[in-house]
Amino acid sequence: MTVWLLVAVPLVGAAVAWGVRSQDGASRRVGLVVSLANIGVAVAGVVRMLGSTSASQVWSSGPMAGATSLTLVLDGLSAPLVALTALLTTVAVLASWRVTQSPAAHHALLLALSGALMTVFLAGDLVLFYVAWEAVLIPMFFLIGVWGHERRRHAATKFFIYTFAGSAFMLVGLIIAVTNVGSTSLGGVPATLPPDVQRWVFWLLAVGMLVKIPAVPLHTWLPDAYAEAPTAGSVMLAGVLSKMGGYGLIRVVIPLAPDAFSAAAPVLAGLGVLGIVYGALVALAQKDVKRLVAYSSIAHMGFVLLGIGSGTSLGFGAAMLAMISHGLVVGLLFLLVGVLHDRTHTYDIGRYGGMARSLPLWATLFTFASLASLGLPGLSGFPGEFLAVIEGFGKFGWWMVVAGVGVFLAATYNLSAVKAINHGEPAVEWAHVSDLKATELVAAAPLAAGILAVGVAPGVLLGVVSPVVQALAAVVGGGA
């Protein structure tokens, strides 16, 4: 019951928000109510899942006219991401509270996006997974293209074509898998594909996932899309859409092709390490604070790939931790950067300075988020990335020193951004801008609380994830 509500609530909400466009501000209230309701449903679903003896909550439409039926599965792997989606949707609704250009369409698209993302994370069937995966593109395309910054049209088209190209590979891979397995069901997939088929399936699917994450050679759409999207779009893109890739690797690709995964794991880990260093280096060179956050995302998602590449259950758990942490941290950072842009209409780091004086509350939260981003122990960034490096060390040895360089660079770019924006000579032109408003504070508070909670007690999240990833690690280990 609760499982299908997770999908139905935002989709129905989208229709309602679209319908109330005549009334001023009604759509944003619909957006808020619906997204809060979905948080409630998500919490109820997770509580029921944890309370029940079975590892997952399954909802199925039952066969109607044909053989296949719609199946949604909530388990340890999907639950954290479902919760993250519900939370960040609310944040995105609050972040776009003052959108003036067709607000009804904006909120409707945001809720539709949320519904599609929920379907991706809950899909129990390859076809549904792919359909939802692609369906995410449509609202995101319009969110970037209509409500984005100056170069929004270019960014929206580039985003769509890049990810659609990745998905085309994925589609071919999925069809190969379906024809060979003879079933479209996810989970309970017998891992008996012949080795050469596994290799095809793995790489075709992985390309689609790696574009979405994005891993380094396939990341070129990211800076434009992240930077040109409106704040709500950036929050959803970086916070949730990038997680589709990591989730897809763990949920879809590895179970279908465990042997090919074992063979390719060093490549994935290598791409991860490359991303960690490359993302950090490019972030260091940015003069635009939104692009800085965008590039830092590449580095953070590198840790996700590294964790997955280690192939151990703790490594998969680390990847999940890093994904949830990145979702919270980058969500908060984009929210704060968006607030700053709202006040100053610029992203140029050089024009800021001494913001701690004019925007004390904002500056505190920005420092907090930056510390989480650089991986300060006690905040959410630390456990996932640390665990990923530890697991990587166990598998790949001293190569992890390179990742360590990335961690060092992360401290550098985060702290130098904090220094340049919050401290130093106060910028005269922004001396009188106003601090966080109530809606913005309400949006930021749960993210900050989440960052703290995951940082202090990462074991809770690992506990939720562990049944699924242990089973997976056993499959991979058995195949190696």
Partner: protein
Amino acid sequence: MTAFVLDVARWAAPVTSILWLPGALALAGAALGMTADMTGRSRLGLAIVTTGTALAAVLTLGSAFLGMAAPDEAFSVVFGAVVGGGSFSAMAFVVYGVALMALSTGLRSVSDARRVPAAALMAISAVAGQVAMGSGDMLVLFVAIEMLALAGYALVSASANRRADEAAMRYFVQGAVSTGLFAYGVAVLIGAHGGVSFSADLYDAVASDPLLLATLPFVLVLVSMTFKAGAFPFHSWVPDAYETAPASLAGFLASGPKAAVLTALVVVFGRSFWAQEAFSDLHGLIGVLAAGSIIFGNLAALKQRDVGRMLGYSGIAQVGYALVGVTAMAPSTTLFATSYAIAISVAFTCLDAYRRLQPDWDGSIEGLAGAGRRSPGVAFAMTAAMLSLTGIPLTAGFVGKFFVFLNSLDSGLLWLVVLGAAGSVVSFGYYGKVIRAMYLEDTEGDEQSADVGIRAPEPAAGERPRVWPAVVGALIVLGIGTVPLASGFGGLLRFFGV
């Protein structure tokens, strides 16, 4: 729900099982409509033609559902030469349906004098399409396909200007060559086998022929049919024809006859008993035509500025995907042809409506800027059509492509599937441009002109274009893409899969 529909189908069975009735009604509508037009009552004439076609569509739909309810007795042969019922009726419904969509717009972009004749030609063309798809005799197939082509030449020239005449003339001259090839191929087939023209007997006879005699006439037939379908390299008439024909007629031309010819291709080259025995020699050839169509159509469409021409070139690529299905002998090819036919006719219907709404529109993609705000209904339907033609999930186009690719991989045609997937990505380059123009492009200049009161002249009362046919079509496109996610794809495949 499904049970209810099946009950209705059973209840209506006595009527819907008369398989010659739809064609007869559509033809009667065309004849009566023309008669009314002769007496100067063109509105009545159009209404009669539309009614005839609508009745045909309803009957074929009912007959298709009847086939779902009782699959064993779904198919039967009409007049000893045309197979009907089941998925043949479903495809006939598609052809009548797209004709009905074009007729429902009122054909206001066609001049008064030619409106009813054009409508009657569409109805006749739809009947010819139904016959071509179900023809169990090579001569009947030949006559039906020529009928389709003749109606096509006339429809292309319906604009009655020099460019349209030129396009129609070129189409006609090239078409005459392809007719010759078809006639020659059929003559060799029938002549070499003692006057047998019934397809099944012919296939039996061919199976024991020497290779050259078995292959050559079918190569000629294949070339001729792929010309009618507009596949590479026999495509050169397509963009001119679609650009110059009035958009509502182009919508039918691009959908109805194409769906019919593609289905006939599937029947002759993909699904026949003969095909499974001796067909393998032609596989490679069709595969090459498919690949060429996908590559050429996509690349050529990328360069177009005019929406009609872009749709024309993209249609070549779409035929390529269908030919991939023919190569693989995929039963889902007709499902793909259905998705293509509905989406392309929605697209042209949108263009027709938009041209009426914005008389100063130059037909270019950039000229659609701001359509999302000015004509939300048109923009919505157009977006659904573009997404479906690209093959994005939640639309019929995805379902069609997905199953064609699935069947093709089962037949080991990985290279064609990869090419098709790559072509789909490229296709967003031009389909996406339309969406981008409608919703994303700056329309500030437009708002300014609205502020000072200078607006595009409102169409005169009674002249407002009908947008609902396009919107209904768009909803069907989205329905085929979404409903089966919950209800399963099996029914859809049985319904449309020949």
